[in-house]
């Protein structure tokens, strides 16, 4: 029962008093209203909020967001329902974005390190002095070749202004590298597109319309490429239309949460995923499966492939291969996806090519339910998305640093000391650089070795634009705008670059002549005004600038898919490239499988308490750091859950508690990346653990120069200690601590 809102407490007491008197005279039974003495949750009155549209920057995907703000404070992030990529949806990392803004460990102003680099003794530094100091360092360089810029997930406009600055100086272009991009194989995929389709744009897979999806190590429901867009499509594939339910088959050595959602999980021998694709292709061509007509033109692709050999090398029975070939070829609409795990092997390019070739064999390139290419930016300026460099190119920079050829290093949204394999030698390299500047909003592992930290705004305080890649089913350009005023005395890195150019004068001032970053953006974005494709139209550039921010970007009203055009690479026999691994199989019997955490990603989420507290979906571990091994392997080593083991590779070692994991090959040791921070704030440092990048051999796929992060062998040694992980799951079956 309840009271109408118009009755006050005092009136109620009067009525209640009357009622009790009344009951004294009659025998009628009546119920008494229980009035809470405070408002129950259902009677709270919501405050008035203002919503701002912007872009999520927690990963490279570029989902549209809307942010609820009250009294100038951001209160909740949600997906932008109008945005063609994520259609109102957001992942765990996107939801946690408020804690990037309100992180208690953010730098509140520019700082210089006074106790020497690595001392962690910082002193506030007046911004104009910081810019004067940096511009004098640039001016004092004996040669502009001695200037290097290392970036990670940089905002597009900051990247472009950086490129302009470096170009005007005559310095080398920025080197872009981050661990997440390496784990998802971004640069390798781009090179594959270039080879197959003559364009570097990333493929986009039409999952929602597909009846059969073969995913080769693509963790498409976790962190790979554009996980929210892919999850939206996955939901539609499962239950989106009556009477149809798509089939998902996942090939990978460890059952990921994507594999948990799949109908079939095929635990392939590491590095042999391409062999599975070759065998399936060979069977389709040989047995003339499917309904594409003749496979004659494709026979050449598989002329060297022997199905039995491929089966033996991949650990997948011939019958399974035959069954999968039939299911794949007979489907009305099917697609094969070469994922990140493939790119992390020394035969990565060959494997990815073999998988992409399956889409050719069943004629699903540029077809509904198949694969398309992402739309690039609709104008010349917007087409210059930050490219991801290869690991080889990073190693070249490290070599130059070690040789003392770099005098000034600038770092933006990159944390190479955490994200690169320790064996890559970045630590020795940075020590040789006389002056290092970081633009990180928090003190991360690399910023500790900087002379100056000039903190950029966090993304909810920033301007920007982004062409999402992989994209949506139509041309899209995201807008980013501050949803709150900057909390602290931080400065947009783009404005730092413009300030430097103005100070240095001459060619630089001419190349970067904008008053501030917002006027640069307004000019760049105005190129979109007047396009006949747009979902909205404005009469004036100012009107467009307003709508651009209100909508959270610009996109085509109609679906425009980009059909790839094939190059002649597909007329030669596909290579059968053997995988190679670092470490002798006798000494190091296991394959190391580092993987991107669904909550912490490559570690950039580790300073957000919401993400630390959120359980890993497969192990249900919270806050912790662990090593996954097969039950049989554990029995062989005589170890059980929570036993601490030492994992050792030819390049390094680390310790962590064991999680016995039923869904993993017995020859695999899987470790999530993301924990083991030495710096990066209280929440990241609260977790006991090590960074598995200490184990990874700095080897590459010679075809792409990409880091072969899955090509290291390790051994395990129990150290006779137990360290109990915090897990949502109860191992003893007693459930959580009794609430009673």
């Amino acid at each position: 029962m309840s009271m109408p809102k118009t009755i006050t407490r005092r009136e109620f007491l009067k009525i209640a008093a009357g009622a009790s008197i009344a009951t004294g005279f009659t025998s009628a039974v009546r119920s008494i209203v229980i009035e809470p003495f405070i408002y129950p949750p259902e009677e709270e009155l919501p405050g008035q909020a203002t919503w701002y549209a912007s872009t999520c920057r927690q990963c490279a995907a570029g989902c549209g967001i809307i942010v609820r703000t009250i009294d100038g404070r951001a209160k909740k992030i949600e997906g932008n329902p109008l945005h063609p990529l994520n259609r109102g949806k957001l992942c765990a990392r996107g939801q946690a974005g408020l804690q990037v803004l309100y992180n208690p460990d953010r730098l509140k102003n520019a700082v210089r390190q006074v106790g020497g680099r690595g001392s962690r003794q910082f002193e506030p530094f007046y911004w104009p002095d910081a810019l004067d100091l940096l511009s004098s360092k640039i001016a004092a360089l004996s040669s502009t070749e001695r200037f290097a810029f290392l970036g990670g997930l940089m905002p597009s406009h900051t990247y472009r202004l950086t490129s302009l600055l470096l170009e005007a100086l005559g310095a080398a272009p920025p080197v872009i590298y981050d661990l997440q991009s390496a784990l998802e194989g971004r640069s390798a995929v781009s090179q594959l597109s270039q080879a197959l389709f003559g364009a570097p744009d990333l493929p986009e897979y039409d999952l929602s319309q597909s009846d059969v999806v073969l995913s080769f190590g693509a963790n498409l429901l976790e962190t790979w490429m554009s996980p929210v867009a892919q999850s939206v499509a996955y939901g539609a594939m499962r239950q989106g239309s009556m009477g149809r339910r798509g089939l998902l088959v996942q090939f990978e050595p460890r059952l990921s949460s994507t594999a948990a959602s799949a109908d079939e999980w095929v635990p392939v021998q590491p590095g042999a995923e391409g062999f599975v694709a070759l065998a399936i292709g060979r069977i389709i061509v040989e047995e003339r499966l499917g309904h594409v007509g003749s496979h004659q033109s494709q026979a050449v692709l598989y002329q060297n492939v022997d199905v039995r050999d491929m089966s033996a090398a991949s650990d997948v029975p011939v019958d399974t291969l035959r069954h999968l070939a039939r299911v794949f070829a007979d489907a009305d609409r099917a697609v094969a996806i070469p994922g990140g795990y493939l790119s992390g092997q020394q035969n990565g390019f060959s494997s990815m090519l073999a998988v992409q070739a399956l889409n050719l064999v069943i004629a699903q390139v540029g077809r509904q339910g198949g694969m398309f290419l992402s739309n690039p930016g609709p104008t010349a300026a917007l087409r210059q998305n930050p490219p991801v460099n290869t690991f080889d190119e990073v190693m070249d920079l490290i070599r130059r640093m070690k040789a003392g050829e770099i005098d000034l290093l600038l770092l933006h949204s990159a944390n190479p000391l955490y994200e690169l394999p320790a064996a890559a030698g970045f630590f020795e390299a940075i020590a040789r650089v006389p002056f290092v500047v970081s633009f990180s909003p928090v003190v991360d592992e690399t910023a500790v070795w900087a002379d100056l930290i000039l903190p950029d705004h966090t993304y909810l305080e920033s301007w920007g634009y982004q062409v999402p890649s992989p994209g949506a089913d139509r041309p899209v350009v995201n807008s980013q705008q501050p949803v709150v005023s900057p909390l602290y005395d931080t400065l947009a890195t783009s404005d730092v670059l413009l300030g430097l150019a103005a100070r240095l004068g001459g060619k630089l001032a001419a190349a970067l002549s904008w008053r501030d970053e917002a006027s640069y953006l307004e000019e760049t974005v105005s190129e979109l005004h007047g396009s006949s494709l747009g979902a909205y139209s404005a009469r004036t550039p100012s009107g467009f600038w307003a709508l651009w921010r209100q909508y959270g970007g610009w996109w085509s009203e109609k679906q425009i898919r980009r059909e790839p055009e094939l190059t002649d690479i597909v007329q030669k026999p596909l290579l059968i490239a053997e995988p190679h691994f670092e470490g002798d199989p006798q000494d190091y019997p296991f394959h190391l499988y580092p993987y991107s955490s669904i909550t912490l990603s490559d570690g950039r989420g580790a300073n957000l308490p919401w993400l630390q507290e959120t359980p890993d979906p497969m192990t249900t571990v919270q806050w912790g750091m662990w090593v996954e091994i097969n039950p049989e392997t554990a029995e062989g080593l005589g170890i059980s859950d929570n036993d601490v083991v030492q994992v050792e590779s030819p390049h390094g070692s680390m310790e962590a508690s064991v999680v016995i994991y039923p869904g993993i090959r017995p020859d695999i040791v899987a470790i999530p990346v993301g924990q083991g921070h030495q710096d990066y704030g209280r929440f990241a440092q609260a977790v006991i653990g090590s960074n598995p990048m200490a184990l990874v051999a700095p080897v590459t796929d010679p075809d792409t120069g990409a880091l072969a992060w899955g090509a290291t062998r390790v051994r395990l040694k129990p150290i006779g200690k137990k360290q109990v992980l915090a897990r949502l799951e109860s191992l003893d079956g007693n459930g959580r601590e009794s609430l009673g």
Binding site: S231, G235, S257, T614, Q622, P662, V687, A726
Partner: protein
Amino acid sequence: MVMDANLSVETSRRWVLVVDLDRCTGCQACVVACHAENNVPVVGEKQAGYGRWMHWIIIQRYWEGEYPNVKARFMPVMCQQCTEAPCEPVCPVFATYHNEEGLNAQIYNRCIGTRFCGSACPYKVRTYNWYAPEFPEPLTEQLNPDVTVRTRGIMEKCTFCIQRIRRIEIDAHAAGRIPADGEIQPACVQTCPSNGLFFGNLDDPDSQVSQLARGRRSFRLLPELGTEPGVIYLKGGETNV
């Protein structure tokens, strides 16, 4: 809420949440969205290890079979908003009660922390504030002003985001209309990337949740207990041939 002159309450709503297990990928987006929307505290590794975590929604994971024929299944579990709620009659101070829309509501200021409701709950979805929540500055800025911040000694649980229900209802009322089916979305439903969660009125036979509830895949958790939950699950796997 429509009320007549005799103070009797007329309601035509029974809020239910439908969880489609065939779409759930275990991604945890709902878990974080719920923390953000409902000011759910974070307890840290040590307390989480004791099982004192505060999530209002969890994704349970079940292993089936043995390698290599092994499967893992996810099941999001939150307060089931039972029609016959075992948590309600045991509260000595009427802090947990049943409202007209079929929700089990909790009046935090009444709660004295006996934890009887948590013991009575067969779904184990109530969480208890063993300590005062900590929000190191400026993390207090993230707090949703529409939701009370609970303190030490208080029981709490999923409310179906009652503040979001009210927000839409008040806006719709001001505009002189009734909220459309699907317009009201708790934070978990709003964010779910694979569209695996649905929210709506079971008393409206045309609503999406009603249609889903009538489907062959629908079931409820521990139906033998007679709690008549307001959360309806749809089976996953190969059931939709």
